[in-house]
Each structure stands twice: as C-alpha cells, then as structure tokens.
C-alpha cells in the first residue's frame, strides 16, 4: 500500500506543479494513524500531509459538487466503489465532468478501526496489509489479524475492482474480486416476521440522534436544501420530536435515494450510533433488481433510474411483496 501512496503523492505533485489542475482531492493525516480525513490540496507544500492507507475509506466524490464549480481543474482519487457515486453525480448534473480529472486508485478493502479496537487493540500506530492478513502495530506491540474480520462493513460486500470511470489509474497490485453477499442480511430480515422486523428497526432507529451525519456524507443526498429543511414540504423538522419521526426521516431518506443510491455504504460507516442504515438502501436495491431487472446506480453517467422509468407490464404494488415479480 505504501508504494501506491507514494505513486499517488508523486502524481499529485506533478499535477499541481504543472498547473494541470488547481487542486487535488485526497486524504490527509489526521490526529492518529487511523483517522485520515478527506482534504483538498492546492499547493505542493500542502501535500506534506497527504496520506493513503487502510483507513482511507471515505468516498470523496461528493466533494466535487463544490470543487467542480471552482476555477481550474480538480483531480480526485477514486476507489472502484467511489466511481459509481461519481457517475451518479455526473448523471444528475451535480458535478461538471469536464472540470474533473479522475485518478482511479487501487483499493484492497478498507479497515474499520472499531473492529480492531474490538479485538482489544488500542493506540494503533501503523498497519501493514499483506494479502489476507494485517499486521497492526500499536503502542503496545504488534498483532496479526485476519483482514476479513476487520474490514469496513461496506468492504465486506465489495463491488469489485472495476472503476466505472477514470482518466488515468494508479493500480499496482491485483485487487480483490467482488463479494456478492450484499443482500444476505436483507434476506435475513425479510425472513423474519413483521413483529420481529418491527422490533429490530425500532431498536435500531431509536438510537438515532438526528445528527444528520448520514445525510451529510451520502453522495446521493446532495440536495441544495434537504426536503426536511423545506417548509413547503409539510414534513419540515429540525429534530426528532418523537419515535415516529426517526422512522419517517429514514424511510423518506431511503426512498429519495432509491434508484440513485450506489450502495457505497458511507451512511453506515459514519453513523455514530452504528445503525445499519445501509440495510434500508439495500432493501430498495434488492427490490428494484427483483422487480424491474438488475440495476446498479452509477454504472453509467446517463440514462434514467428505475423510479423515473417504467414498463407497461410492471408488477402491481399489491403483488410485489417479497421483491420478486409474480
């Protein structure tokens, strides 16, 4: 991974120095090794803080909404899964494609610090990834962990190594194959009784503190102004007044991103309450696939979404239960 980081840094320098781009969007060092943050670098000096390691899970594409409107070109590093969001945003005219230089970068699956901590390791100082195993160095020594166990939730159902868009690439090693298990948890919930499902979501959603982290990170939630902040919508609400509104918020959010959500998994990654929000979006994705044919948002940067198209023989809503046309 270190070689990838060096190569990225080198390329970022070239691009800024030559004036080809006015800024580079990537990650910069955080307070700790495990909390790098998205950042925009405008000078070579600023690149001193540049970092790309196993904790750079953040999807950077949403930052382009602002960046692409600025003077000069913006270069951005996109992992395979981020490239879907990029396309989706181009499709929705939220970013100006011509102003962007996409550098497709290698990703071996990103790590979840919470899962590492859960293994009893704290004060992580460095992580060495080697195939299926990971060596975690901390102030208290080195531990070898099985990578599969400490992957971010979203990386445990990786969409695979194909970038949907790129202007150039920095890929030095073979990347992992797709893991086609993303509907397993949804199916598990579907198999429950209504009561069990209600109890499950009740328990999960009542943890919601309406911090809006999910909304802020979501590349599909890119509205200039959210419907929940729109007084004309009739559902304007600043905070949860009661238990219903927690549900209302998440139901509407999931519906609004249905057919547009690329399943990047950022919502669950950033949720401070660890609510498995991706399971809401994946239900829509699963039903769309089952009822209207497979669709992956962000596979292309044009065309209609399943909710803005139809066929004359679509399934009737009353017969659609289970998400498969009867």
């Amino acid at each position: 991974m270190k070689d990838v980081e060096l190569k990225m840094l080198e390329r970022a320098k070239q691009l800024l120095e030559s004036g080809e781009v006015a800024r580079v969007i990537g990650w910069k060092k955080g307070e700790f090794y495990f909390d790098p943050a998205p950042a925009s670098f405008e000078t070579v000096e600023e690149l001193g803080d540049f970092v790309y390691n196993g904790f750079c899970g953040a999807n950077l594409s949403k930052y382009l909404i602002q960046a692409s409107k600025k003077e000069g070109k913006t270069a951005i590093f996109l992992k395979p899964c981020d490239s879907y969001s990029f396309n989706q945003l181009v499709k929705e005219h939220r970013i100006v494609r011509e102003n962007i230089h996409v550098i497709a970068i290698e990703c071996q699956g990103k790590l979840d610090i919470e899962k590492i901590k859960a293994q009893g390791i704290s004060a992580v100082t460095e992580v060495e990834e080697e195939g299926e195993s990971v060596t975690v160095s901390s102030l208290y020594g080195e531990t070898k962990l099985n990578k599969a166990e400490i992957l971010l939730g979203k990386c445990a159902s990786c969409k695979g190594k194909t970038h949907q868009v790129k202007d150039e690439e920095i890929i030095l090693h073979e990347m992992p194959a797709p893991i086609n298990n993303r509907f397993d948890e949804v199916a598990k919930l579907e198999a429950m009784t209504e009561d069990e499902r209600f109890a499950f979501w009740r328990e999960q959603l009542q943890k919601c503190i309406r911090c809006n982290a999910c909304r802020n990170v979501c590349p599909a939630c890119s509205c200039v102004k959210c419907v929940f902040d729109n007084p004309a919508s009739g559902i304007e609400a600043k905070a949860n007044d009661d238990k219903f509104e927690e549900q209302l918020f998440h139901i509407i959010r999931a519906f609004h991103v249905a057919g547009r959500c690329t399943d990047c998994g950022e919502c669950s990654r950033v949720c401070p309450q660890n609510i498995p929000l991706h399971l809401l979006n994946r239900k829509f994705i699963k039903d769309i696939d089952g009822l209207y044919g497979e669709f992956q948002a962000g596979e292309t940067d044009n065309g209609k979404t399943p909710l803005t198209s139809y066929t004359e023989s679509d399934v009737e809503p009353n017969n659609a239960l289970g998400g498969e046309a009867k």
Partner: protein
C-alpha cells in the same frame, strides 16, 4: 345478528383514500350516484393523478392516526396524463414493500386501479379494504403517539 358483548367500543378504522381526479374520483362519484354504499370511515382526498401522491403523504396519514391508506388511479395504460400511474405503480410497489420491511403490515397499504366507469368496483374495493383493516386492527406502529393521546 349477534350482539357485541364487550364493553369496548368496536374498532372502526380510519381510512384515507387518495383518488385521481379523472378516473377513481369519478368512479367514487359513480358509486355515489349508483347508491353503492361503503363505510363512512373512508375519506377521499382528490389529487390530479395518482402520481401526485408523495410517500410523505402516506406516512403523514399514518402518523396522524390513519389505520389504512389506499391509492386509486386510472388503470395502467389509461392514465389521463399518459404515464403518471406507471410511476405510481413503481413508487408504491417499492414503498409498500419497504414499509413491510420495517415491520408495517402489508395489508395497511394498497393500490387499486378504478376507472370512471367502475362505481361498483370502487365500492367493492372500499368495502374490502375496510374489512381487511378492521380485522387487522389499529395502526400502532407508524403513529405519532401524541395523536392518539386522550382517547
């Protein structure tokens, strides 16, 4: 008829029906002029097209204490606005499936296509829906608890 022996007032559900102006609302009018009865707890809201019904309206109805929500529109292919109800069909199939995924009874939500000529059908659909919801009982899961306070 058997007397109801329980003291508790029998549960009469509160039903919101969204009807498109061109077909289903006219179908409801025809049910009326043909004197085809259905329970008084069905209240109709007129919308230009079933595609005007936002999921937020459905949720709002439940939040405010509705026990069942039904959408009625022109039959697919007959939409006054050509394609409106095709979008409704997809939206509501996904939304209702999703609500069920959240643990909401599937029977509480329904979409029916009723043409302006189908007064009979309108009445039958409403009778059936009220029956279903009555059997299902009160909506407790999607209600803003404050709405029903003081009952």
């Amino acid at each position: 008829m058997q007397e109801v022996t329980t003291k508790k007032k029998e549960f009469t559900p509160n039903i919101v029906a969204f009807c498109c102006n061109w077909c289903s609302y006219a179908g409801a009018d025809l049910a009326g002029s043909s004197r085809l009865s259905y329970p008084a707890n069905v209240k109709i809201i007129r919308v230009p097209c079933s595609c005007r019904v936002n999921p937020t309206f459905v949720l709002k109805a439940f939040q405010q204490g509705a026990d069942g929500v039904i959408l009625c529109g022109c039959h697919p292919g007959d939409c006054h606005y050509v394609t409106g109800n095709y979008y409704t069909r997809r939206r509501m199939a996904l939304l209702f499936n999703f609500l069920n995924y959240m643990g909401i009874e599937k029977e509480r939500t329904r979409v029916e296509w009723v043409s302006a000529a189908e007064g009979q059908r309108f009445s039958a659909v409403m009778n059936d829906f009220v029956k279903t919801i009555t059997e299902l009982g009160e909506n407790k899961r999607l209600t803003d608890l404050r709405v029903k306070e003081g009952e």
